[in-house]
Symmetry: C2
Subunit: 247 residues, 2 copies
Amino acid sequence: MGSSPPDSPIRVGVLLFPGHEPLDWVAPVNIWGAVKDADGRPRIEMLYIAENAGPVTSVTGTVSVIASYSFADLPPPAASPQHSPSANGRPATPPSPPSHQQLHWLLVPGGIGTRREAANPALLEYIRAWAAPSSGLQLCMSVCTGAALLAAAGALDGRRATSNKRAFDWVKSVNPRVDWVRSARWVRDGNFVTSSGVSAGADMAVHVLKEVLGAEVAAKAAQYAEYIPATDADKDPFADEAFLPAV
Amino acid sequence: MGSSPPDSPIRVGVLLFPGHEPLDWVAPVNIWGAVKDADGRPRIEMLYIAENAGPVTSVTGTVSVIASYSFADLPPPAASPQHSPSANGRPATPPSPPSHQQLHWLLVPGGIGTRREAANPALLEYIRAWAAPSSGLQLCMSVCTGAALLAAAGALDGRRATSNKRAFDWVKSVNPRVDWVRSARWVRDGNFVTSSGVSAGADMAVHVLKEVLGAEVAAKAAQYAEYIPATDADKDPFADEAFLPAV
């Protein structure tokens, strides 16, 4: 994981699916979106991707967000040539394929829709292809039950990872070959960073920013959001199911 | 401000406009949306409203959310009869007007789009009508620079209110008849609750839940989001512009 060249923004794919939890990605996107260069240009650019471009419902179904890219519009590097069809058996000259855009980070939110998407071959294949070391992806991240999708894609096999505490047993059941860490605000293992439930995504987002662009950039992004982040990856009061925060 | 009858959900109008900051409303909506009755039905229901129904761009313009209701679809009680046109000068029999839906709460987010909306008569009139005591609205809330829209509508005249700290001078300039409180996480004055920048909306959302439905409901909603809320309305480290949170 290294810094991006100064003139080339970090491109983050935000993976949307029906029944996603908006807060899981909106909080990280707010933190990352506040990072600008000296000329006020965004240093981190978000690309909203879903199996099909267009409106994607959220957990409640009452609000939809619009994905700009379908999986076909933004193919992973490895999958791209394999999926170019040859109409007549001869080597195909791809008819103006979408120019490949390299993602640097992938962010997978959670939400009740993960229960269905964990068995969606198209989505899992898309994640698998980007999570492959050859894809050029620098960071593969999840928030909340988004970890179940990374796990179902096999991307976390043999790795340490965490997820939402209330759905933890289900997430574990999706793939027991993952070294599931119950008590953690977020877990970093190689290029994979998985965070705990919902709000933990913002803390992971600040932490990742600190690692990639430095503490000052991260602190200013948190300041911009008037947010005091949790900074200890291992401190997780919600791992105790009886814990209720003071209100 | 009282409790809603048990069988009737609290209806929250979420006001969207081009250039809103999604986190401002997504965090409160996540907190409130977690509140269910014994049968698992939502006790708080969100209605997404914009001047025109359909896609509404956000701060970056790269992600849009879909408003289900236009201002005309969900008219404030007082404004509804006034705006029924009479085609020929005779008292009009309104041609199947949209059945009136009573909002209980209104949530106004901030974002760079507030700079333009603060001079949008249609939006200001919509806010003004719902903010009027006769509208039946129980709580009128803003997050971040959303307070500038309430102020521009005259809804905060003579009231105490707060807003985002980095945009504070601009917000104050919108309406000096408001008693602007610089150092506050959120401010309650009568039925109006204004919160500080972005993340403060989640804290206001938990606090309002506690006031209306009790501490246990509020604590469980925060637990659901794995969120530790700020609970002191008067504690605001970001009021010091030099303050940078530890990362």
